[in-house]
């Protein structure tokens, strides 16, 4: 006699459960596509009217219905990369301090506080920017920069306080916790034996960090930085509050500027015409595409270089 087992599909509960899971698993990616589709659809009038000129035009004039997104694209890219430039050394240094230098207890306390920085709402950073950072920039840092380095176009012009520099500094503070905590995980994943190998060869503490930690973790830290960049590109509220919102491209970091997200936040509520609305949605589409690409790149990179290796 042969034993017969009931096939798993025969259980109604299993069947339902598996379909619920399937639905949930398909739902989120489907949502992503539906957002992209929605953006395309709503931006269609602007896409039809301006074509690629939308991304190269530098005039943004809702009254004349002439829309060019170049200043916003420029502002987004410059403010985000500048933020990354400021945040990366700070974050990598902090991550090294947390994993390599501080005793474990103190490190977890400091690490906790750093992660709490990531929990501060964007609008609160914006308020701090308006009431603390911007006045300081206007009264202290920017005049000093203009006095000493004013001959470089980067630091020329009147000190407004609000502007590209203020936005970049706020963004740097906001992405530093992200980069720090990922870099910290990357450094933690490096086996103790690597550090001991360096120490046993007569490496000093700093040399051990450089040789066994930084060099081995280079790829992961790069991924962390790109994730931080992705966050900076999309950040809206705080940037809108301190960047000055002027649709122009200026070489000077002291000048007001705008970003893709700040244009959207500022103008969406008072969009005057259908074309204006479509142009704003196309800005949203551009932002969606850029942040999607940057984040996808960073995730793939991190996954391949760190998770992929430790899993082996």
């Amino acid at each position: 006699m042969t034993l017969r087992f009931r096939r798993p599909e025969a259980h109604a509960g299993d069947l339902i459960f598996s379909w619920v899971l399937r639905g949930a698993a398909m739902g989120l990616p489907a949502l992503l596509f539906s957002i992209a589709f929605f953006l395309f659809q709503r931006a269609e009038p602007a896409i039809a009217k301006f074509g690629w000129g939308f991304f190269t035009g530098s005039v943004w004039d809702p009254v004349q219905e002439n829309f060019g997104a170049l200043p916003a694209i420029y502002g987004t890219i410059v403010s985000s990369f500048l933020a990354l430039l400021l945040a990366a050394p700070l974050s990598i240094g902090t991550a090294l301090l947390l994993t390599e230098v501080l005793p474990r207890r103190l490190a977890s306390a400091v690490g906790f506080l750093v992660e709490m920085l990531a929990a501060v709402p964007s609008v609160v950073y914006g308020l701090w920017g308006i009431f603390v950072l911007v006045p300081w920039l206007r009264q202290s840092l920017e005049p000093a920069l203009a006095r000493n380095l004013g001959w470089i176009p980067l630091f020329s012009g009147p000190p407004y306080g609000v502007g590209m520099l203020a936005a970049a500094i706020i963004l740097a503070i906001m992405i530093a916790p992200t980069i720090t905590s990922i870099a910290r995980e990357v450094f933690r994943a490096i086996p103790r034996q690597q550090r001991e190998a360096a120490l046993a060869l007569g490496a000093t503490r700093w040399e051990t960090m450089r040789l066994a930690v930084l060099r081995s973790g280079k790829a992961g830290v790069f991924g962390a930085a790109i994730l931080g960049l992705g966050r900076a590109l999309g950040e809206t509220m705080a940037v809108t509050m301190v960047i000055g919102n002027r649709p122009s491209i200026s070489a000077s970091l002291l000048e007001p500027a705008q970003t893709l997200s700040s244009v959207l936040a500022n103008e969406y509520a008072e969009a005057a015409s259908d074309l204006h609305l479509a142009a704003l949605v196309e800005i949203g589409l551009a932002l969606f595409a850029v942040t999607f690409a940057v984040n996808a790149f960073a995730r793939l990179f991190l996954w391949r270089r760190t998770l992929g290796r430790s899993a082996r």
Binding site: R104, A197, L211
Partner: protein, 256 residues
């Protein structure tokens, strides 16, 4: 205190702790120049910790500390004014698991210690790399692919690369912490052969859980049990005619 002793490396009352747990009880033993000293004993008997005290690596573990005296060529290894970094340049180490630096090539791995010591000239580094790789019996296998990552080698080759890396800075002593426990029998045999060769260049202290290995390659053997040296003497004598009944029980496989 500095006295002249017949030993190249010597410990006097060396003990070690992890927090409040004593891992090594006061231990006094000496290794003559150009000999191989094996340290055997069951897992957790403190033999690795003892070894790691010799190049002051033990103290790098949070909460760990060591007490007592260690002398290298009659100079103190512990004490105020002794820089552990300088000690570790003279006392090299090879670990249980091969640990070449993943971001570095075979050549870079070999000379990384020299670089740390300040050697910069390319041709000098290259020459010393060849010398160390030959000493580690790896040269013929890697001479055509020095620029490939150290991780691309097999486990046994990686371990010999680590030996070359340790030898490049011309240490006086080479500490080996179960260097073959992660390797296959053929690679193990090659490393054992190598250790016997290396005796001409350095003084070797090797921790092993493999008694046959200790018997094959060492001149003297120390048997550790529960953090203390039960017996220390000529390897041939210790394995054939142990004095302490605990040593006899261990080497005949009745515990451990």
């Amino acid at each position: 205190m500095t006295t002249t002793s017949p030993f190249l490396l010597e410990t006097r009352g060396l003990s070690a702790w992890f927090g409040n747990a004593q891992a090594v009880k006061p231990t006094t033993l000496g290794c003559a120049a150009n000999t191989v000293t094996a340290i055997i004993g069951p897992s957790g008997c403190g033999k690795s910790t003892f070894l790691r005290c010799l190049n002051r690596l033990h103290e790098e573990v949070p909460g760990a500390r060591a007490q007592g005296e260690v002398f290298l060529e009659n100079g103190p290894v512990y004490g105020p004014g002794v820089d552990p970094v300088a000690v570790r340049r003279k006392i090299g180490m090879v670990f249980q698991k091969p640990n070449p630096f993943p971001a570095l090539s075979i050549l870079e791995n070999t000379v990384v210690g020299l670089r740390l010591a300040g050697v910069r000239r390319k041709n000098v580094l290259r020459e010393l790399a060849e010398r160390s790789l030959r000493l580690a019996a790896l040269w013929d296998e890697v001479k055509d692919k020095l620029d490939q990552p150290g991780m691309s080698l097999s486990g046994g080759q990686q371990q010999r690369l680590c030996i070359a890396r340790a030898l490049a800075v011309e240490p006086r002593v080479l500490l080996m912490d179960e260097p073959t426990s992660a390797l296959d029998p053929v690679s193990t045999a090659r490393i054992e052969e190598l250790v016997t060769e290396l005796k001409k260049e350095v003084t070797v202290v090797i921790v092993t859980h493999n008694m046959q290995q200790a018997a094959r390659i060492s001149d003297r053997t120390a048997f550790f049990l529960l953090g203390e040296v039960v017996e220390f003497g000529e390897t041939s004598r210790l394995f054939t005619n142990p004095v302490d009944p605990r040593t006899e029980r261990y080497i005949t496989g009745r515990f451990g």
